[in-house]
């Protein structure tokens, strides 16, 4: 079973590659000014978990991280 997750992006690291935005436009966006990543949602839900992890490993600068909310947190939510 996929766990709930929370996404964080480090805009200092982001190189504006557009990779995340092209794979998952519902989750990631890009600033028109500096081309860097913006989040549409930090908690895209369990369905998106695998796709998000794919993007995390492909991001050229390691600017995206995910934290699985542990079972306790999910139960409490």
């Amino acid at each position: 079973m996929e766990m709930e997750m929370e996404i964080r992006v480090d805009r200092d690291r982001c190189a504006g590659s557009s990779l995340c935005v092209s794979y998952l436009p519902d989750v990631f966006d890009q600033s028109d000014d500096d081309g860097k990543v913006l989040l549409r949602t930090a908690e895209p839900g369990a369905d998106a978990a695998q796709a998000v992890r794919g993007v995390v490993t492909r991001c050229p600068t390691g600017a995206i991280t995910v934290r699985a909310r542990d079972a306790q947190e999910v139960r409490d939510a």
Binding site: A15, G16, S18, V21, S22, S31, D32, G35, P60, T61
Partner: protein, 370 residues
């Protein structure tokens, strides 16, 4: 790093010396090793020198590939807004129009036709010049300079003269844009950041972008078409299932890997990669070609598979120097390849495959019929 440096075998990370010196160097061929090195900021792309200050003075102004943070961050941020996915989508109709015009011209010219001269270079240079705001009248001259300046041009004198003429042209263009910045990438760069950029930085930025737009993207299109034409089953599959185009474009980019080695890196401190240690001061050449399992120009493209999952390929590099123009290049290749196949679904080589001649980054001519 000298071009003659070659891996003695294809081990993932090979220790060697820079020929003619005692400087230690490494060649990374393995996917994991290349990925680790390119994403590690303990490696520098600034030309090495005695002191950090001397090293910074060796940087070719405007060539992002040679800057380290924080200067790299400063310069790259001025350009990233021009290459977002949204911006690239707004440019798509322009590129599609250029492609359709060329296809009309091909149809009018009759068969056989040289796809490289009549389709590949015109598409790449018209797109590049439109983006950068380079007048149509200047394009023939510019593409001739670029062509004569190829690293593998045996005529040294012609090469040097072309290089000088190219930089003189771009310098003049940038001075003119300072006076009258148009609504193009370079004009907007001057309007928004002109005061914090030197003339040399502006000219170097234009040189980098133009070289990426014409020889690099055009070279990929030409070599990619060779790959498709010599794999008729793959070409037929794409004609039958046009929805595979994005996959096919990505596979073309991987199979060509037009920049075979990433810019040379120097270790700023000792770095362990696997169980080997790259020492401070060592050079590293990362083979994108080997890491991607690609074949150099002219070798049979026997790895082309437009349905493969190649999503982690490194033809655009990896890490903070990841190609700035990747989305644009994808869009241009998609427009060119999908529209060519829609217009000429039966396109095929008009000469035997082994008569094709290649340069370091392109195919010289590509005669086809349909």
């Amino acid at each position: 790093m000298p071009k003659s440096l070659k891996a003695p075998d294809q081990a993932p990370l090979v220790e060697t010396v820079v020929p003619g010196t005692s400087d230690r160097a490494w060649i990374a061929n393995g996917y994991d090793e290349v990925r680790a090195i390119l994403s590690d900021t303990r490696f520098s792309t600034t030309p090495p020198a005695e002191t950090a200050e001397a090293s910074r003075r060796l940087v070719q102004p405007g060539n992002l590939l040679q800057y380290d943070p924080p200067e790299h961050t400063r310069l790259r941020k001025m350009l990233t807004g021009e290459f977002t996915l949204r911006r690239v989508r707004t440019l798509e109709p322009l590129v599609e129009g250029i492609v359709e015009d060329r296809l009309d011209a091909l149809e009018g010219a009759g068969q056989p036709v040289d796809l490289v001269g009549q389709f590949v270079w015109p598409t790449a240079s018209l797109t590049g010049c439109a983006m950068l705001g380079i007048p149509r009248d200047d394009q023939t001259e510019l593409t001739r300079h670029l062509d004569n300046n190829r690293l593998d041009n045996p005529d040294r004198e012609q090469r040097d003269m072309a290089g000088t003429a190219y930089l003189v042209y771009l310098g003049k263009l940038m001075r003119q844009k300072r006076r009258d910045p148009g609504d193009d990438l370079l004009g907007r760069l001057i309007r928004d950041h002109g005061r914090s950029l030197t003339e040399a930085e502006l000219t170097g930025t234009a040189a980098t972008l133009l070289a990426s737009l014409i020889p690099i993207t055009g070279g990929t299109l030409g070599l990619g078409l060779v790959g498709l034409l010599e794999n008729p089953d793959q070409l037929a599959l794409l004609v039958e299932r046009p929805e595979l185009i994005d996959h096919a474009v990505e596979e073309v980019i991987r199979s060509v890997t037009i920049i075979p080695h990433a810019s040379p890196r120097t270790a700023k401190e000792d770095v362990a990669i696997g169980d080997q240690v790259i020492k401070a001061g060592d050079f590293v050449a990362c083979s994108l070609l080997e890491a991607n399992g690609a074949r150099p120009p002219g070798e049979p493209q026997d790895t082309l598979d437009i349905t493969r999952d190649n999503s982690g390929h490194m033809a655009f590099g990896h890490g903070l120097h990841y190609c700035l123009g990747a989305s644009l290049a994808r869009m241009e290749l998609r427009a060119a390849i999908s529209r060519l196949l829609r217009r000429f679904p039966k396109v095929r080589l008009a000469v035997p495959r082994d008569e094709l001649r290649f340069t370091a980054k392109s195919v010289e001519t590509l005669p086809v019929t349909w």
